[in-house]
Amino acid sequence: MSPSTWWLLIGLCVVTTALTRGAGPAATGGRELPAPAVRVVVLLSSALLAALVVTSALADGTELRVGADTAGVATAGVLLWRRAHLLVVVLGAAAVTAGLRALGVD
């Protein structure tokens, strides 16, 4: 890609991302959401976060793949269950992932 093509790509990404972030607040304005919508909103983060975790740990493009990072994230899950400190959880995930890659597991 030429530099000008890269700049075009970035410019378009800036516009579309700003629109996805801004459309909701512009549409709701100051109106309070009706009660059923509030219940949906409260549940939204559980659904989105769970989807983000499994896709970032298991999806490689459109392929599902168990890799070193999957084991790292699973380690984070065990550490969270054992009520470890957040930094221990994160460093544990990185250490297991790095260790497996050093052993040749991708």
């Binding site: 607040p25 219940r39 409260v42 983060s45 559980s46 975790v53 970032s56 984070a76 992932t97």
Partner: protein, 226 residues
């Protein structure tokens, strides 16, 4: 949960506490941004362009997605489309956040630009409202390291972030957020169903769509309190 202590519940938690709570996420954003800078320059993106992209797009998943498509010869349209789809979860998040922001519609749209996953999730009070100032502080704590990390990445393109296992850092953070979020059986069910929907769609849908589709599971909330 609501700080301040002067009885102004509307005020919510301060931007300072957001800044403090956001600091560890900022550290994670920094290492992720370094790897973005490295990968971007590898793919041929001009160094200044990579920094501008981080400063103005400010979406790790979206930026990596655009890079992935463009780097494998996908063209501008496909790259922008993929990045937009990957960031599409900001759309339902914005509808949730909107009433907690302030001012005219335009100003709310501008304030909504502070939306990133961890900040949005942690700014939630749990009753459908969001602490606006806290969101800004939390988001700022990630924005600055995100841009700074990109600068380091394009200047020092040697760090092998995969060998260091740093790609597991963000999912681990998301998992920690999720663990704090799932406080009852309804939310646990929604989380499991969301994960299931996303995984089922990965092989058949373009990247980004599985996560957006998972948000539909939250519609179970329309059924009403039991």
């Amino acid at each position: 949960m609501v700080g301040g202590g002067d009885g102004s519940a509307e005020q919510g938690r301060s931007w300072r506490s957001g800044l403090r709570d956001g600091a560890p996420y900022g550290a994670a954003a920094f290492v992720l941004a370094v790897s973005f800078g490295v990968v971007a320059t590898d793919a041929g993106m001009p160094a200044v362009a990579a920094i501008v992209m981080s400063a103005l797009v400010y979406s790790g998943s979206g930026q990596f997605a655009a890079l992935g498509v463009a780097g494998s010869g996908g063209g501008v349209g496909a790259a922008v489309g993929t990045a937009t789809l990957v960031s599409s979860r900001f759309l339902p998040m914005g509808f949730a956040l909107g009433p907690s922001l302030r001012g005219s519609r335009l100003r709310r749209a501008l304030e909504g630009q502070a939306t990133v996953d961890a900040s949005w999730a942690m700014a939630a009070r749990g009753d459908g409202r969001y602490d606006r100032e806290y969101l800004f502080g939390h988001s700022a704590a990630q924005y600055v390291p995100w841009v700074a990390g990109t600068v380091v990445g394009v200047l020092v393109p040697v760090l092998d972030t995969r060998a260091l296992g740093l790609d597991a850092v963000f999912p681990a953070f998301f998992l920690a957020l999720l663990a704090a979020e799932v406080r009852d059986r309804l939310r646990l069910g929604v989380a499991l169903a969301g994960a299931g929907v996303a995984l089922a769609l990965v092989p058949v849908a373009p990247p980004g769509l599985p996560v957006l589709a998972a948000s539909a599971v939250a519609l179970v909330g329309l059924r009403g309190p039991r």
